[in-house]
Structure formats: C-alpha cells, structure tokens
C-alpha cells in the first residue's frame, strides 16, 4: 500500500511562495523581538566574552530556526522522502535573508524616525546594539550576512547525517548551558575545591561573567566528541531500561531515586547561599506542582484557582504560629499548626470541589478561577482584616524549631531541607496513589467519565478526593512559605501563581512525577517563579512572555510534556498510533501474501 508521490530521489524546484512567507514571518519575529526589548534587556548577560551576549543570542536563534522550518518536508508514512537539494538551501537562504532585510528596515527606521512615544524600546540603545556600535554602514551588511548564513545553516541541517545534527545540538546547548549556569557551577566548584577549573573556564576579570573564547572552543570540542564517542550507547541503555521486565526496571528506578536523594541531601552542604535559595524556591513550587499534578494530570480537572489552597495553608500557619496574628494568636508550634493546616485544606478542598464536581471542563476552570480570586479578595478585604490582617497580612511568623534544627528564611539551607522532607513525602504519596485503586479511578474518570461511572467507579468521590489531596499538598507548601518568609501577604496569592504552576506541570509532563520534577527544576530554576527571580535575573521582565510562548509551543507540538507518561502520550497522539497500527497490519498482510507465490 505504499505510494510514491514524487519519483524518489529527485529534488523539486524551489517553492518561492513558501520561502518568502517564512522569510516574512522571520523578519516580523526579529523586529518584534527587538522592539519588545529582549536584546537590550539581556545584553548585560555575557555568554562568551567578548563575543556573544544573551541579547544577541535572542536574535540569532530566529533565522536559524526559520531556515530549518522553511525547508522541513513532511514525510508521510510509506512515502520515500524527497532528497533535499540546492533548492532547499536557497529556500533557507531566502528565509534568513528576508529576516536580515527586516532588521535592516528596523535599523534605518531607528535612525530616521522617532516613534518612541508608543514603542518604548525604539531607542538609541537598540540602534547601537543592532549596529554593533559601528553605524549603519557596518550593521546592515553584517546582519544581512549573518541572517542569510544562519538561514542557510538551518537548511543544511536537513541534509546532514543524524550524527552531525546531534553533535551540533550537543555543542550549542551544552556551551549555552555551561555559560548560563555559571553561578551554579562556580558554587559547586567552590564546594569541591575545584576553583582552578572555573577560573580557567570563565572570564573572571573586570566583574563580567561568561566563558572565555578559548574555553568555549575547548568545551565545544569536548562536547562534539561526546556523542561520537558514546555513539548510541546512551540510547541503547535507555531502550534497554524501557524494555526490561518490571522488577529490573523498578530496581533501576530505585537506584536512580536513591542517587538523586543522596545528591539532594549532600549538595546543599556544598553549595552557597544563592543556589540554596534557588533550590528552596524550586522545592516550594515543586510541592505545589505535585499537588496540581494530581488534580490536573491524574484526575483531569483543570483547576485554575489552585492558589486558593496555597493561601489557606499559608494563612492557617501564620494565624496559628505568629505572635502578630490579629484575632487569634495561640502561637502554637509548627508541627501542631500542620495538623490544623491539613484539616483546613481538606475543608477548603471539599467546599471548593463540591459545586464544581458536575460541571463541564471549561466551566470548572472558570469557576475555580473565580473561587481563587474570591479567596484572595477575602484575605485582602477590610471585612476580614480583624482576622487576617487585610493588605498588611500577618507578619512575625516564628521560625520553625524542630529539635536542634531551626528553619528560617535567613538560612536557605534549612528551608531547603524542610522543603525536601515535604517533597519526598509528596512524591511518595503521589507515586503510591498513582498505582492504587484511587489513582486508577482518577485516570478512568479523566479519560471518559460516563464509561467510568458505568464501570462502577464513584466519580464524585474520586474527584473530591483529588481536590482534597491536591489541596493538602498546596497547603503544606503554603505553610513552608509562611515559615520561610516569616509573613504572609495577599499579594503572593494571585492567579499568576496558579497559572505558572499549571505551565510547570504541563511542560514537565502531566501525570508524571519525574516530568513534574524536571519541569519545576528547569522552569522555576532558570526562569524563576511568579515573584522570585531564577538563575537568570535578566529574564525577570520577560519571564511571563516566555512562559506564555512556551505553553503555546508545548501544546501545539508536544502536549504530553517534556517527560511524558506513556498513557498520556498514547492518549494525545491517538491518531498517529492508530495509523501506525493500520500500516503495521497492512505490511504484515502484504508479506504473507507475497511469500507463498
């Protein structure tokens, strides 16, 4: 049943319309990114001194990607891929070149007209950045050349063997990651007394950061050699793991988790204060994400008002442990407060969950969003000010004293350990619930509620339990936040938090604990939380833009997330799996027919 649409091996003439369309979009993207302020804002962060800064990188990746995308050929199953020829290289070149033309027009515009009034970033700084501080005569041909070249490289990528592509991606991402994670690597090196290594790698003079050119080249060579040397061995190992019987797999997973656990316990001793603070933040949001993972990922209830439970936990802890609590200040110990936190969270989960149980998915989202806002407004209001402190919140929450250990905000390492304990508990609970009867009830409800009811599952109780468990985890996170910061303000509980946690869960992998951990580490660690900066402080103003773009991109390309669960993957790509099965059956039946004759 194979059909060939074009004679195999022939290359087709250049599709001008497509190339020009992609080129236009490339130009528009370059101009928009410049005007949104990304290059100027990120210019301070130097990746390779003195050659490359994050600002220029924001512009450079665009023609490369568009060169790649403009020459992508969709290969249908069973059809032989047409060979890429010079036409494709021309297409990539055109796409990149048009991007360069767009930038040229922008530079000329910056020089002649002043529309700073609406467009805030139409500034001399942008002009200087784009022309490399050397004026239009230098800037225009350079950008035309760079963009066309990058477009060409993007097109060439299709024609390289897979090994070359892998080498290129290793080199690019590896060098960038090492440059970006300078703070973490510095800290680690200090802990292991390897400062000489980082001093050699990074450019430490004059207060700027970034790799030196020589170290970048060396690292590039090392990273290029890695995939060639290891070959397919890593992939073979991963496949071996996946195909292994479940006992072996479980053993490997346990060893892996054990290693991660040891690293989590041991590393903070070595790392410095800043990185510990980052890790504590990551842990806090990881706890929230684990709870939302149960509500959204396992049970399929899109809860946009998740921050309400976070607030309930924070305020309960503050009221019960702070000396400054307006109405009721018993100043109990954190441990006793935790018991009440569980009770309040379960109540909140039931109260918010009960009305929304029978609603359609979209209505559920909006109503929970409404509830989240109502809870925040109530905590902010003057009406409940005698109980919750209104806009001033509740301050002077006592630090947690657990025997000899004291957990307070000024010691990020202790906060991290407390968060680690809670996270470990949450991970264990999630993992066990996933494999339990309740977890299977959730997954059945998520996939088809009517069939689940027909199979005898009490969907109402299952959904309520999902809300309760999710609420409890969020409330624990709120309690830790209260202890860490020493106070709670209504400003920390906006809808933004819910949505960022949703992005973390979705980008990481819905329903998959490892996915949520990866998502939390990558997103909160590098980009930062709603109010907390991440590793890259420069991203602070553009964080939400990237979150939004990332969410849209993931939903379009890979809705199951970075680390997908097998079930989810199958659910979301059902059409492709069905087609594969259809083609697989056909191929077998053809073989059977062909052999005897």
């Amino acid at each position: 049943m194979t059909a060939t649409l074009a004679p195999s091996g022939s290359s087709v003439a250049l599709d001008w319309r497509r190339a020009l369309l992609w080129g236009g979009i490339c130009a528009l993207s370059l101009v928009s990114v410049s005007l949104i302020g990304l290059p100027v804002g990120m210019n301070k962060r130097i990746l390779i001194e003195p050659v490359l800064s994050l600002g220029y990188l924001c512009l450079l990746w665009i023609p490369l990607v568009f060169g790649y995308v403009a020459t992508t050929v969709v290969v249908l199953e069973g059809v032989e891929a047409r060979k890429s020829g010079t036409a494709d290289l021309l297409a990539g070149l055109t796409a990149g070149l048009m991007g360069g033309i767009g930038l040229t027009l922008l530079m000329v515009g910056l020089d002649t007209v002043n529309i700073r009034k609406p467009l805030v970033n139409w500034s001399p700084q942008l002009f200087r950045l784009l022309t490399f501080e050397r004026g239009l005569e230098f800037g225009i041909p350079v950008w035309l050349g760079i963009c066309a070249g990058l477009g060409l490289v993007g097109a060439v990528l299709h024609q390289l063997p897979a090994v070359a592509r892998r080498v290129m991606s290793w080199v690019l991402f590896g060098v960038m990651a090492i440059a970006i994670l300078e703070a973490v690597i510095d800290d680690l090196a200090e802990g292991f007394h390897l400062e000489w290594l980082t001093d050699a790698m990074y450019y430490k003079k004059g207060g700027t950061e970034g790799l030196t050119v020589t170290s970048a080249v060396v690292l590039a060579l090392v990273l290029a050699a890695l995939p060639v040397v290891t070959g397919g061995r890593v992939k073979a190992a991963v496949d071996h793991y996946r195909d292994a019987p479940s006992e072996d797999r479980r053993r490997t997973s346990l060893v892996l988790f054990g290693a991660i656990g040891v690293a989590c316990v041991g590393l903070p001793m070595i790392l410095g204060g800043i990185v510990n603070e980052l890790l504590a933040n990551v842990g806090l949001f990881l706890l929230l994400a684990l709870g939302l993972n149960i509500v959204v990922g396992l049970a399929g209830l899109l809860d946009l008002g998740y921050v309400a439970f976070f607030a309930v936990g924070g305020y309960t802890t503050s009221v019960l442990t702070s000396s400054n609590s307006p109405f009721f200040a018993p100043e109990w110990h954190f441990g006793i407060a935790l018991l009440f936190v569980v009770v309040m969270a379960a109540t909140a989960g039931l109260v918010i969950g009960a009305p929304v149980i029978r609603m359609r998915g979209d209505y559920l989202a909006i109503v929970t969003l409404g509830f989240g806002e109502i809870v925040r407004l109530l905590f902010l209001s003057d009406w409940l000010k005698p109980y919750f402190g209104g806009s001033q919140g509740i301050t002077k929450v006592n630090p947690v004293e657990l025997g000899p250990f004291k957990v307070q905000g000024s010691d990020p390492r202790s906060v991290f350990y407390l968060v680690l304990v809670f996270c470990a508990l949450a991970i264990y609970v999630s993992w066990r619930l996933q494999g339990s009867r309740l977890g299977r009830a959730w997954m059945a409800t998520r996939e088809d509620e009517q069939v689940a009811e027909a199979m005898g599952i009490n969907t109402v109780n299952a959904k309520l339990m999902a809300f309760v468990v999710g609420a409890t985890m969020a409330a624990f996170s709120g309690a830790v936040l209260a202890a860490k910061v020493g106070s709670v303000f209504p400003k920390s509980f906006e809808i933004l938090v819910s949505i960022i946690i949703l992005v973390v869960v979705i980008v990481g992998g819905m329903g998959n604990i490892a996915g949520v951990m990866v998502g939390s580490l990558v997103l909160i660690g590098i980009l930062g939380g709603p109010r907390q900066p991440g590793l890259l402080q420069e991203f602070q103003s553009y964080k939400l833009l990237i979150y939004g773009a990332l969410l849209v991109f993931m939903m379009l390309k890979r809705p199951e997330g970075l680390v997908p669960s097998a079930r989810r993957s199958r659910e979301l790509h059902q059409d492709e799996y069905l087609q594969d099965a259809w083609l697989g059956d056909d191929a077998e039946s053809e073989e059977d027919q062909g052999a005897p004759s």
Binding site: S32, K117, L302, G361, I374, L544, G548, L556
Partner: protein, 462 residues
Amino acid sequence: MTGVMRNRSARRVSGVDRFLTVIRVVMASLIIIGILAFVAQQIDPNNPFARWRNPGARGLTGDQFKGLLISGLSQGSMYGLIALGYSMVYGVLGFINFAHGEVFMVGAMSGFITSDKLHAAGWWESNFLLSLTVVTLIAIVTSTFTAVITERIAYRPLRNSPRLIPLITSIGVSFFIQNAVMGLLGPATKSYPKLPEWLTTVRSVDLGRVFVWIAGILVVVGLLWYLWRGGSREKDPTADAGELPVSESELPIGEKVGQVAATLGISVPALRWLVSVWIALLLLGFLVPGKVLIFAITGTKITVVTVAAVSMAGLWYLVERTKTGRAMRAVAEDKEIAALMGINVNRIIVVTFAVGGTMAGIGGILWGLLFRSVHHMTGFLPGIKAFTAAVVGGIGNMGGAMAGGLFLGSAESVAPLVLMEPLGIPGVSQLKDAVAFTVLVLVLLFRPAGLFGERLSQEDRA
C-alpha cells in the same frame, strides 16, 4: 451541574447533592435577608431591622441609586460586547477563548496610540467626531487582526484535540499577548486624551419622555412599514392562491394577528413582544411620576450604551438575516453536517473570530472613552467577567450574552450597596470583583443553562 433534565432521576442523591442544596438555601436566604434589610433601610434608616447588621445604616437616595444603575449598565454593555465574542467562539468551537480579553485590550491600546497621535497633531480637539471614527476603525482592524492571527496559529492545529488542550493554549496565548504588549508599549498606564466638554457634561435625561417618544416613533414607523409591505403584498401574484372563503372582517383575532405579523415580516411571538414593549413604554412614560425617571447621565455613558446597542443590532442582523450568519449558526449546530451542506467550515470559523474581535475592538474604544486609562492587564479581569456574563445569559446565545452583560454590570454596581452593606459587610467596594464570581457560582448552582438557555451543539453539551 450540566442540568440535563433526563439524567436527574437516574443519578443517585449523594452527599454532594445534599451539601449543594444546603448551599443553595443559605445563599438564597442571605440574598433575601439582604434585600429585605435594604428595603427596611430605605423606608426608615433607624429601623431596628435595618440596624441589626449594619449599625451605620443610611438610606440610598434615589439619585445615588440611579447613578449606580447607570454606571452598572454602561459597564455592563461593554461586558456584553466582549461576551459576544466568548459566546460565539464557545458555540462554534466548544472552548473558552481566554485570549479574547486580550483582544479587547489590544483594541483599547491601539485606540490609545491613535488618539494620542491625533491629539498631538491637534485633530482630536478640532474634529472630534472624525478622530473618533478613525480611532474606532483602527481599533477594530487591530482587534480583528489579532483574533484571526491567534485562531490561525494557536487554535486551528488543535481543532481535533481533547477539549482541555485549546483552553490551556488560550491561556498561554493570553499571557503572551499581555506581556508582548507590555514589552512593546511599556508597563506604564496609558491615558486617553481629554474628551470634549459637550460629551462629558452631565445631562438630565427624562426617561419618561424618552419612552413616550420611542413609543410614538414605533407607532409611526410600524404603520408606515405595514402600509408599504401591505401594499406590495397586494401586487404579489402568488397571494391570490388560497383565497379565504370568508371576508376579512369575520376572521378570528388570532388569524388577524397572524396576518398582521406576516405583512410586517416578523413572527407572531416577535409581534407580541413588540406590542408588549410598546404598551410598557407608554405605561412607564405616562404613569410613573416624573421625578423617578429623571436620570443624570454623562454624555459618555449615553454614547457607550447607544454604540453597544447599535453594534448588537448590527450583529443580530448579521447572524439572523445574512447568508454568512446562517452558515455561522449551522456550524455552531453541527460542524460535520454543515461541511456536508457545502459550507466552508474553516472560513466560517475565521469569520466568527473576526466578528468577535470586531465587537471586542468596539468595546475597547468604549472602555477607553469611559475610563480613559488602559494598561496591559486591562483585558484580564473584564475578560473573565465577560465570560461570566456569557454563561449567565446562556452560552452560545447572542441575546443572552448581551443581557447577561447588562445583568452582571448592574449586579456588580448595585449589589455591594444594596445587598452586602445591609448585611453588615464593611468595605464593600473592594469586593466588587468578588460579586461577579459569586454571580457565576450562583447562576451555575441555580440555573446552569443560564438565564436565557444555552445554544450548543450536541457534542459540546456533554
């Protein structure tokens, strides 16, 4: 809570249902007590019942109440315009387009840029009406463009995905647009230039007289219309077929009404509505004492309400009387069968988004005129409230969206002082936003299909 009647007997009554019944009873009693306390407070502020929960009770004067109502209605008409976009997209594609609030914001922002430039050139003051038209047109173009682009990039590839995926994507798009606008135009709040005096002065409008005038115009227009249509019907050759055996004067009343409706070109229920509205207008105009119906409104608010009404009428005409509108209704009912009937479903979906975007653009300009300040986050909360309005009125239902918007706007304005303050809640103006969400929860508890009933395809109704 999907409220499909045939399921109710088959579902077992669980603890959740009992809990919900308790909540319904509690909320209903709170509302009733609040209203009664308000009434008591109006009658006599020193009444013990009025002072029971709210010791500092003061009656609202008629002018204050009317002022609240007017601002509520003007804000509500804007919510209604935005709600139309939500309602149409939900009716056709079955998901909430979170990014629609940002489309509204983009319209308002582009209106700001244009009006600012016109103001700098001095044309805003000299030819205000022309400037306003230009500003509105540009806002409509940008909003429509934004809506169509988001559909093309973010929603079309997800046409066949499970229901939550487009919703989550729209959240991402909403964030992206908000922050892109913040990056492009800066995070500062932008203000529209000053409006001319003749627009912003407070005018005293005697609604009673307005009603009588409208009734009179209705009669004149209706009579002319009837005579024109009746005249052309005489010339219609096919009208001779089916001659009545009895003379016209002996026909029963029902038949006569039917004939009049047929001559006018509207259905019989619509004719009954028209006549009742006319009678109501006359009664209100003549019988209500003059002072009650005298409102002090600014010209801006009159503009807002009028423009919204005209847009709504235009949309009604588009949806009910044009071929494209018929195609839109068909696609909303069942996409596959509509495609089989020869309708280009993709094109109709684009048209739906475009029309929604136009309405949102108009809403953006009205917002700019009324509140005169826009911010990159201006679209977020009104967007959510507009969706609430669409749900309150009945999702998928155009008239319901507008009515829901008016209802929500007035409820938001009136409820804090009428309901919450008599119940003893201090600082009620802060809780205005909470009112909108509480209305949503209440409507979904008491009447999940919305006040006017939802209009959805079978697949979306599940």
